[in-house]
Symmetry: C2
Subunit: 158 residues, 2 copies
Amino acid sequence: MDATAKAFITPDALLAHWQGHRRLTRRLIDAFPDEELFTFSIGGMRSFGELAMEIVNMGVPMVQGAISGAWDAPTSREARPKQEVLRLWDETTAKLEALWPQIPPERFLETLTAFGQYTDALHNLILYVIDNEIHHRGQGYVYLRALEITPPPFYDRS
Amino acid sequence: MDATAKAFITPDALLAHWQGHRRLTRRLIDAFPDEELFTFSIGGMRSFGELAMEIVNMGVPMVQGAISGAWDAPTSREARPKQEVLRLWDETTAKLEALWPQIPPERFLETLTAFGQYTDALHNLILYVIDNEIHHRGQGYVYLRALEITPPPFYDRS
Protein backbone atom coordinates (compact mmCIF):
# COMPACT_ATOMS: atom_id res chain seq x y z
CA MET A 1 0.00 0.00 0.00
CA ASP A 2 1.52 3.27 -1.10
CA ALA A 3 -0.21 6.22 0.59
CA THR A 4 1.38 8.58 -1.94
CA ALA A 5 0.12 6.61 -4.96
CA LYS A 6 -0.94 8.90 -7.78
CA ALA A 7 -4.64 8.96 -8.57
CA PHE A 8 -5.99 8.27 -12.04
CA ILE A 9 -9.34 9.10 -10.45
CA THR A 10 -10.45 9.73 -6.87
CA PRO A 11 -13.13 7.67 -5.08
CA ASP A 12 -15.62 10.58 -5.17
CA ALA A 13 -15.19 11.10 -8.91
CA LEU A 14 -15.55 7.36 -9.53
CA LEU A 15 -18.86 7.26 -7.67
CA ALA A 16 -20.09 10.25 -9.74
CA HIS A 17 -19.02 8.40 -12.90
CA TRP A 18 -20.85 5.25 -11.79
CA GLN A 19 -24.04 7.12 -10.89
CA GLY A 20 -23.93 8.77 -14.33
CA HIS A 21 -23.89 5.30 -15.92
CA ARG A 22 -26.70 4.24 -13.62
CA ARG A 23 -28.87 7.18 -14.71
CA LEU A 24 -28.43 6.07 -18.33
CA THR A 25 -29.20 2.42 -17.54
CA ARG A 26 -32.35 3.56 -15.71
CA ARG A 27 -33.47 5.31 -18.91
CA LEU A 28 -32.88 2.08 -20.87
CA ILE A 29 -35.05 0.09 -18.45
CA ASP A 30 -37.74 2.76 -18.71
CA ALA A 31 -37.57 2.70 -22.53
CA PHE A 32 -38.65 -0.97 -22.67
CA PRO A 33 -42.36 -1.66 -22.99
CA ASP A 34 -43.49 -3.43 -19.80
CA GLU A 35 -44.55 -6.51 -21.77
CA GLU A 36 -41.09 -6.90 -23.40
CA LEU A 37 -38.85 -6.21 -20.40
CA PHE A 38 -38.70 -9.82 -19.15
CA THR A 39 -39.64 -11.59 -22.38
CA PHE A 40 -37.79 -10.09 -25.36
CA SER A 41 -34.50 -11.74 -26.26
CA ILE A 42 -32.13 -12.29 -29.20
CA GLY A 43 -30.02 -15.40 -29.77
CA GLY A 44 -31.16 -17.14 -26.58
CA MET A 45 -29.71 -14.43 -24.32
CA ARG A 46 -31.38 -13.24 -21.13
CA SER A 47 -34.09 -10.58 -21.18
CA PHE A 48 -33.10 -7.02 -20.29
CA GLY A 49 -35.24 -7.25 -17.17
CA GLU A 50 -33.17 -10.20 -15.93
CA LEU A 51 -29.97 -8.31 -16.71
CA ALA A 52 -31.28 -5.23 -14.87
CA MET A 53 -32.03 -7.37 -11.82
CA GLU A 54 -28.51 -8.87 -12.01
CA ILE A 55 -27.13 -5.31 -11.99
CA VAL A 56 -29.35 -4.34 -9.04
CA ASN A 57 -28.09 -7.40 -7.16
CA MET A 58 -24.38 -6.64 -7.67
CA GLY A 59 -23.74 -3.00 -6.75
CA VAL A 60 -24.85 -2.59 -3.15
CA PRO A 61 -23.66 -6.09 -2.07
CA MET A 62 -20.19 -5.31 -3.47
CA VAL A 63 -19.97 -1.98 -1.64
CA GLN A 64 -21.41 -3.43 1.56
CA GLY A 65 -18.88 -6.26 1.43
CA ALA A 66 -16.04 -3.80 0.85
CA ILE A 67 -17.08 -1.95 4.00
CA SER A 68 -17.91 -4.83 6.33
CA GLY A 69 -16.19 -7.93 4.94
CA ALA A 70 -19.62 -9.65 4.94
CA TRP A 71 -20.62 -10.78 1.44
CA ASP A 72 -24.27 -11.36 0.73
CA ALA A 73 -25.49 -11.74 -2.85
CA PRO A 74 -29.25 -11.73 -3.43
CA THR A 75 -30.26 -13.76 -6.47
CA SER A 76 -33.87 -12.72 -7.08
CA ARG A 77 -34.19 -12.05 -10.81
CA GLU A 78 -37.83 -13.01 -11.37
CA ALA A 79 -40.01 -11.01 -13.72
CA ARG A 80 -41.78 -8.05 -12.13
CA PRO A 81 -43.46 -4.88 -13.37
CA LYS A 82 -41.13 -2.23 -14.78
CA GLN A 83 -42.14 0.22 -12.06
CA GLU A 84 -40.95 -2.25 -9.43
CA VAL A 85 -37.55 -2.64 -11.19
CA LEU A 86 -37.25 1.16 -11.29
CA ARG A 87 -38.17 1.40 -7.60
CA LEU A 88 -35.40 -1.10 -6.72
CA TRP A 89 -33.06 0.83 -9.02
CA ASP A 90 -33.71 4.11 -7.18
CA GLU A 91 -33.32 2.38 -3.83
CA THR A 92 -29.88 1.19 -5.00
CA THR A 93 -28.93 4.72 -6.09
CA ALA A 94 -29.63 6.09 -2.61
CA LYS A 95 -27.86 3.18 -0.86
CA LEU A 96 -24.73 3.59 -2.99
CA GLU A 97 -24.58 7.30 -2.13
CA ALA A 98 -24.91 6.53 1.58
CA LEU A 99 -22.51 3.57 1.67
CA TRP A 100 -19.70 4.75 -0.62
CA PRO A 101 -18.14 7.29 1.83
CA GLN A 102 -17.93 4.46 4.40
CA ILE A 103 -15.31 2.62 2.32
CA PRO A 104 -11.93 3.51 3.85
CA PRO A 105 -10.10 5.27 0.95
CA GLU A 106 -6.97 3.12 1.23
CA ARG A 107 -9.06 -0.02 0.73
CA PHE A 108 -9.59 0.61 -2.99
CA LEU A 109 -5.96 -0.35 -3.64
CA GLU A 110 -6.08 -3.43 -1.39
CA THR A 111 -6.74 -6.98 -2.54
CA LEU A 112 -9.97 -8.56 -1.26
CA THR A 113 -11.89 -11.75 -1.89
CA ALA A 114 -15.47 -10.81 -2.79
CA PHE A 115 -18.35 -13.23 -2.30
CA GLY A 116 -15.92 -15.95 -1.21
CA GLN A 117 -14.52 -16.40 -4.70
CA TYR A 118 -13.36 -13.26 -6.56
CA THR A 119 -9.90 -12.14 -5.43
CA ASP A 120 -8.64 -8.87 -6.88
CA ALA A 121 -7.84 -5.26 -5.98
CA LEU A 122 -11.04 -3.62 -4.76
CA HIS A 123 -10.90 -1.08 -7.59
CA ASN A 124 -10.95 -3.92 -10.11
CA LEU A 125 -13.85 -5.64 -8.33
CA ILE A 126 -15.86 -2.40 -8.41
CA LEU A 127 -14.93 -1.67 -12.03
CA TYR A 128 -16.13 -5.18 -12.87
CA VAL A 129 -19.58 -4.30 -11.51
CA ILE A 130 -19.69 -1.07 -13.54
CA ASP A 131 -18.29 -2.70 -16.69
CA ASN A 132 -20.81 -5.54 -16.39
CA GLU A 133 -23.58 -2.92 -16.34
CA ILE A 134 -22.19 -1.16 -19.44
CA HIS A 135 -21.79 -4.54 -21.18
CA HIS A 136 -25.35 -5.66 -20.55
CA ARG A 137 -26.73 -2.21 -21.27
CA GLY A 138 -25.06 -2.40 -24.71
CA GLN A 139 -27.05 -5.59 -25.19
CA GLY A 140 -30.18 -3.64 -24.17
CA TYR A 141 -29.47 -1.08 -26.90
CA VAL A 142 -29.63 -3.85 -29.52
CA TYR A 143 -32.86 -5.21 -28.05
CA LEU A 144 -34.46 -1.73 -28.21
CA ARG A 145 -33.30 -1.18 -31.82
CA ALA A 146 -34.64 -4.62 -32.75
CA LEU A 147 -37.95 -3.56 -31.16
CA GLU A 148 -37.78 -0.38 -33.31
CA ILE A 149 -37.45 1.82 -30.22
CA THR A 150 -34.83 4.61 -30.31
CA PRO A 151 -32.60 4.17 -27.24
CA PRO A 152 -31.40 7.14 -25.15
CA PRO A 153 -28.03 8.57 -26.28
CA PHE A 154 -24.97 6.82 -24.81
CA TYR A 155 -23.10 10.06 -24.10
CA ASP A 156 -25.85 11.64 -21.97
CA ARG A 157 -25.31 10.80 -18.28
CA SER A 158 -27.37 13.66 -16.83
CA MET B 1 -5.37 20.05 -8.13
CA ASP B 2 -4.77 18.18 -4.88
CA ALA B 3 -1.44 16.40 -4.95
CA THR B 4 -2.50 14.33 -1.96
CA ALA B 5 -5.79 13.23 -3.56
CA LYS B 6 -6.65 9.65 -2.67
CA ALA B 7 -6.52 7.16 -5.52
CA PHE B 8 -9.45 4.94 -6.41
CA ILE B 9 -7.04 3.48 -8.96
CA THR B 10 -3.56 4.46 -10.13
CA PRO B 11 -2.70 5.29 -13.75
CA ASP B 12 -0.69 2.05 -14.14
CA ALA B 13 -3.54 -0.11 -12.87
CA LEU B 14 -6.01 1.69 -15.13
CA LEU B 15 -3.88 0.98 -18.19
CA ALA B 16 -3.69 -2.71 -17.19
CA HIS B 17 -7.48 -2.72 -16.79
CA TRP B 18 -7.93 -1.12 -20.22
CA GLN B 19 -5.55 -3.53 -21.94
CA GLY B 20 -7.48 -6.42 -20.34
CA HIS B 21 -10.66 -5.10 -21.96
CA ARG B 22 -8.82 -4.69 -25.23
CA ARG B 23 -7.67 -8.33 -25.18
CA LEU B 24 -11.30 -9.38 -24.82
CA THR B 25 -12.49 -7.07 -27.61
CA ARG B 26 -9.76 -8.50 -29.85
CA ARG B 27 -11.19 -11.98 -29.25
CA LEU B 28 -14.65 -10.71 -30.22
CA ILE B 29 -13.33 -9.30 -33.51
CA ASP B 30 -11.55 -12.59 -34.17
CA ALA B 31 -14.74 -14.57 -33.41
CA PHE B 32 -16.61 -12.92 -36.31
CA PRO B 33 -16.54 -14.68 -39.66
CA ASP B 34 -14.68 -12.42 -42.11
CA GLU B 35 -17.74 -12.15 -44.34
CA GLU B 36 -19.97 -10.93 -41.46
CA LEU B 37 -17.59 -8.49 -39.77
CA PHE B 38 -18.57 -5.45 -41.86
CA THR B 39 -21.98 -6.62 -43.05
CA PHE B 40 -23.96 -8.21 -40.20
CA SER B 41 -26.26 -5.88 -38.27
CA ILE B 42 -29.42 -5.87 -36.15
CA GLY B 43 -32.01 -3.08 -36.05
CA GLY B 44 -30.14 -0.83 -38.49
CA MET B 45 -27.10 -0.50 -36.19
CA ARG B 46 -23.52 -0.40 -37.44
CA SER B 47 -21.57 -3.57 -38.16
CA PHE B 48 -19.10 -4.79 -35.53
CA GLY B 49 -16.26 -4.07 -37.95
CA GLU B 50 -17.28 -0.39 -38.12
CA LEU B 51 -17.52 -0.29 -34.32
CA ALA B 52 -14.08 -1.92 -33.99
CA MET B 53 -12.61 0.71 -36.32
CA GLU B 54 -14.27 3.46 -34.24
CA ILE B 55 -12.60 2.00 -31.15
CA VAL B 56 -9.22 1.81 -32.91
CA ASN B 57 -9.60 5.46 -33.91
CA MET B 58 -10.35 6.72 -30.39
CA GLY B 59 -7.74 5.28 -28.01
CA VAL B 60 -4.37 6.42 -29.31
CA PRO B 61 -5.63 9.87 -30.46
CA MET B 62 -7.05 10.48 -26.97
CA VAL B 63 -3.79 9.54 -25.25
CA GLN B 64 -1.69 11.44 -27.78
CA GLY B 65 -3.84 14.53 -27.26
CA ALA B 66 -3.53 14.22 -23.49
CA ILE B 67 0.25 14.22 -23.86
CA SER B 68 0.73 16.86 -26.53
CA GLY B 69 -2.43 18.97 -26.62
CA ALA B 70 -2.69 18.19 -30.35
CA TRP B 71 -5.95 16.41 -31.20
CA ASP B 72 -6.11 14.39 -34.36
CA ALA B 73 -9.00 11.99 -34.93
CA PRO B 74 -8.73 9.63 -37.89
CA THR B 75 -12.10 8.66 -39.30
CA SER B 76 -11.31 5.70 -41.57
CA ARG B 77 -13.91 3.05 -40.82
CA GLU B 78 -14.17 1.36 -44.21
CA ALA B 79 -14.55 -2.39 -44.49
CA ARG B 80 -11.30 -4.32 -44.57
CA PRO B 81 -10.23 -7.92 -43.97
CA LYS B 82 -10.40 -9.11 -40.37
CA GLN B 83 -6.65 -9.70 -40.30
CA GLU B 84 -6.10 -6.04 -41.14
CA VAL B 85 -8.42 -4.92 -38.30
CA LEU B 86 -6.49 -7.20 -35.93
CA ARG B 87 -3.17 -5.81 -37.17
CA LEU B 88 -4.35 -2.24 -36.45
CA TRP B 89 -5.65 -3.45 -33.09
CA ASP B 90 -2.24 -4.85 -32.10
CA GLU B 91 -0.52 -1.69 -33.31
CA THR B 92 -2.81 0.28 -30.98
CA THR B 93 -1.96 -2.03 -28.07
CA ALA B 94 1.75 -1.34 -28.47
CA LYS B 95 1.25 2.41 -28.95
CA LEU B 96 -0.88 2.69 -25.81
CA GLU B 97 1.81 0.91 -23.77
CA ALA B 98 4.46 3.27 -25.12
CA LEU B 99 2.44 6.50 -24.81
CA TRP B 100 0.67 6.03 -21.48
CA PRO B 101 3.73 6.64 -19.23
CA GLN B 102 4.24 9.95 -21.06
CA ILE B 103 1.02 11.40 -19.60
CA PRO B 104 2.08 13.51 -16.59
CA PRO B 105 0.31 11.79 -13.64
CA GLU B 106 -1.27 15.00 -12.33
CA ARG B 107 -2.95 15.57 -15.69
CA PHE B 108 -5.54 12.80 -15.14
CA LEU B 109 -7.31 15.03 -12.59
CA GLU B 110 -7.15 18.15 -14.80
CA THR B 111 -9.89 19.40 -17.11
CA LEU B 112 -9.06 19.34 -20.83
CA THR B 113 -10.94 19.94 -24.06
CA ALA B 114 -10.44 16.91 -26.29
CA PHE B 115 -10.77 17.11 -30.07
CA GLY B 116 -11.86 20.75 -29.76
CA GLN B 117 -15.25 19.86 -28.29
CA TYR B 118 -15.28 17.49 -25.28
CA THR B 119 -14.44 19.32 -22.04
CA ASP B 120 -14.08 17.15 -18.94
CA ALA B 121 -11.54 15.81 -16.46
CA LEU B 122 -9.00 13.71 -18.37
CA HIS B 123 -9.96 10.61 -16.35
CA ASN B 124 -13.54 10.98 -17.54
CA LEU B 125 -12.45 11.47 -21.16
CA ILE B 126 -10.35 8.28 -20.98
CA LEU B 127 -13.08 6.32 -19.19
CA TYR B 128 -15.43 7.42 -21.98
CA VAL B 129 -13.16 5.73 -24.54
CA ILE B 130 -13.04 2.52 -22.49
CA ASP B 131 -16.77 2.57 -21.72
CA ASN B 132 -17.57 3.14 -25.38
CA GLU B 133 -15.54 0.02 -26.20
CA ILE B 134 -17.39 -2.05 -23.55
CA HIS B 135 -20.73 -0.67 -24.80
CA HIS B 136 -20.13 -1.56 -28.45
CA ARG B 137 -18.54 -4.89 -27.53
CA GLY B 138 -21.78 -5.76 -25.67
CA GLN B 139 -23.51 -5.10 -28.99
CA GLY B 140 -21.01 -7.47 -30.64
CA TYR B 141 -21.97 -10.20 -28.17
CA VAL B 142 -25.58 -10.00 -29.38
CA TYR B 143 -24.47 -10.08 -33.02
CA LEU B 144 -22.39 -13.22 -32.37
CA ARG B 145 -25.26 -14.95 -30.51
CA ALA B 146 -27.63 -14.04 -33.35
CA LEU B 147 -25.10 -15.62 -35.72
CA GLU B 148 -25.15 -18.72 -33.46
CA ILE B 149 -21.50 -18.21 -32.49
CA THR B 150 -20.58 -18.59 -28.80
CA PRO B 151 -18.75 -15.40 -27.74
CA PRO B 152 -15.67 -15.46 -25.48
CA PRO B 153 -16.48 -15.15 -21.75
CA PHE B 154 -16.86 -11.56 -20.48
CA TYR B 155 -14.89 -12.17 -17.29
CA ASP B 156 -11.75 -13.50 -19.02
CA ARG B 157 -9.32 -10.64 -19.67
CA SER B 158 -6.17 -12.76 -20.01
